[in-house]
Amino acid sequence: MIRAPAFLSGLGRFYIGLVLVFLYLPLVIMAAMSFNVSPFYQLPFEWTTEWYVALSDNDGLIAATLNSLEIAVMTTIIATILGTAASLALFRYDFAGKRVLQALLFPPIAIPWLISGTAMLIFFFGTGVGRGLHAILLGHVALALPYVIIVVSARLATFSKDLEDAAYSLGASAWQTTRKVTLPCIAPGIVAGGLFAFAVSFDQFVVSYFLATPGQTTLPVEIYAAIRKGFTPEINAVSTIIIVFSMSLMFVVSRFFRFGGDQ
């Protein structure tokens, strides 16, 4: 390309720097404050880890964290299996109405979570499914499915059907072909899809918020309740942990799957 003059490209770099500051400054400040003595974020800064210690005594938050992890793991397993199976079907077979079926995968992403969440609340409540962790799991899998299918399908798009044909021509059954050729070849996509599903579930607030009950809640819902009751430095501490955890997870995803998102 025609190289931008030095001052223009310098300006561009400076601009990106500003955008990154905007994106990261509040997070950095929050992390710093989680190590500050003053519970009202007063400066000067004095180092402490007491909020993290306090965190370890907060049974409510710890229970919610365990719930979040448990639901995220189960969402990952279920959404990855269902999503990979659906992606394979959409990749392998051609049939009338396929485009409509594919379009029907997107409502969980395209509809505001507020609406999905309240709709689930009404339906689960009305049908006796009820609220609680099982309801949250039902919702999270539905929200994560489209992401898994998008990521796995993107990987399948780079997979040549000839490889499956080759396996069949060598005498392999459909199952042997899937297990020994197709799945190993698209494994990076499946792993990335699974990690996406984990992130979607672990960070999900809106849908969980409507489906949680006092005893059966997730970490974001618990944090929201705490924020609305009033700031406490413990929230800073747990938020910092969440941010570090989520970002590390997505950093790993990006290693598996270039850029960590092609939706």
Binding site: L163, D165, A167, Y168, V181
Partner: protein, 352 residues
């Protein structure tokens, strides 16, 4: 190793007749080329023999067994794909072992058969490599080893050499032929490259619009093409069309030539073909000294190494002649020439 028999097979995709009532037999141990332009149905026919597609009507027999409803993985065939389709998640040895493993073979037998197959294609040293670490020619050999290690009844090759550059392709043709002789497997080879088909196969089937237009030994098809399409698709040909009477053919531009002896009885609209290399040229001092079958004036000429191609204008009809470049001097453009050929080299074509 088996005889493959295709009988009255048709397959329609929507309204498009991909394969239209094709019957052809592939004898045990033979090396067959299916030759045709893209869209002629040659790959579809191959995929039906393989078992990836199923004919709407007709039968396919391998070794006498009707297989038209048997899925590919039960047909005991071997196939080499255009882009080799080597499993990227497996080593060379694992690729070759795959077909044996899914049949339940294991241990020492499996290892020995894989090693033998790799030795046959001279790749024993690269057994541990991954496909992406191999050159195009090496991948080709692995694909071949993988296809034959299971001792298939028939080996199917779908344009296997088209991804290679020209020099490598020629080497691989020789290599492929050697391996096929050594293994003795009935081989069906799909290609759109007529030179490749001529040089490699025992027999050629030419396809057009889903039909077999001619089938026979390479020399036979080249020397006696059964249609204008066969004549022009397989090599080059001058097509002479006109009206036949009394053993002569009056061309559309008014000139006349002798028909071959067997053409004495034909009459009416008629076509003949003659290969450019069978048309001999000699320069005339001037246009008045007539001789040969036709006379004309050199219009264009081009060189390709050892050969010269002349285009001669014979009363408005262009005729091509290819001659060996010997010690003599070339004929200049604009020189009057006479064209001679052996009457037997003229091939009579059915009316279009």
């Amino acid at each position: 190793m088996a005889r493959v028999e295709v009988q009255n097979v048709s397959l329609t995709f929507g309204v498009h007749k991909a394969v239209d009532d094709v019957s052809i037999a592939f004898e045990d141990g033979g090396f067959y080329a299916l030759l045709g332009p893209s869209g002629s149905g040659k790959t579809t026919l191959l995929r039906m023999i393989a078992g990836f597609e199923f004919p709407d009507t007709g039968s396919i027999r391998i070794d006498g067994e009707a297989v038209e409803n048997v899925p590919v993985n039960k047909r005991r065939i071997g196939m080499v794909f255009q882009n080799y389709a080597l499993f990227p998640n497996m080593s060379v040895a694992d690729n070759v072992a795959f077909g044996l493993e899914v049949r339940g073979e294991k241990g020492e037998t499996l290892r020995r058969e894989v090693a033998d197959a790799l030795d046959l294609v001279q790749l024993g040293a690269l057994a541990k490599r991954r496909p992406h670490q191999l050159s195009g020619g090496q991948r080709q050999r692995v694909a071949l080893a993988r296809a034959i290690v299971t001792k298939p009844r028939v080996l199917l090759l779908d344009e296997p050499l088209s991804a290679l550059d020209k020099a490598l392709r020629t080497d691989m043709q020789v290599e492929l032929k050697r391996i096929q002789r050594e293994v003795g497997v009935t081989t069906i080879f799909v290609t759109h490259d007529q030179e490749e088909a001529l040089s490699i196969s025992d027999r050629i089937g030419i396809l057009k619009d889903g039909r077999i237009v001619q089938e026979g030994a390479p020399e036979e098809i080249y020397d006696r093409p059964a249609s204008e399409f066969a004549a022009t698709f397989l090599g080059e040909a001058n097509i002479l069309s006109g009206t036949a009477e009394n053993g002569r053919l009056r061309l559309d531009n008014g000139l006349a030539i002798d028909l071959p002896p067997e053409g004495g009885t034909v009459a009416g609209d008629f076509r003949c073909a003659i290969r450019p290399e069978r048309v001999h040229l000699s320069a005339l001092p001037d246009a008045a000294t007539a001789g040969g079958q036709l006379q004309g004036v050199v219009k264009r000429r081009s060189f390709s190494g050892s050969l010269s191609t002349y285009v001669v204008d014979c009363g408005g009809k262009e005729i091509k002649s290819v001659v060996q470049r010997g010690g003599g001097t070339a004929i200049e453009i604009g020189r009057p020439v006479e064209l001679r050929w052996n009457r037997d080299d003229l091939v009579m074509l059915p009316a279009a």
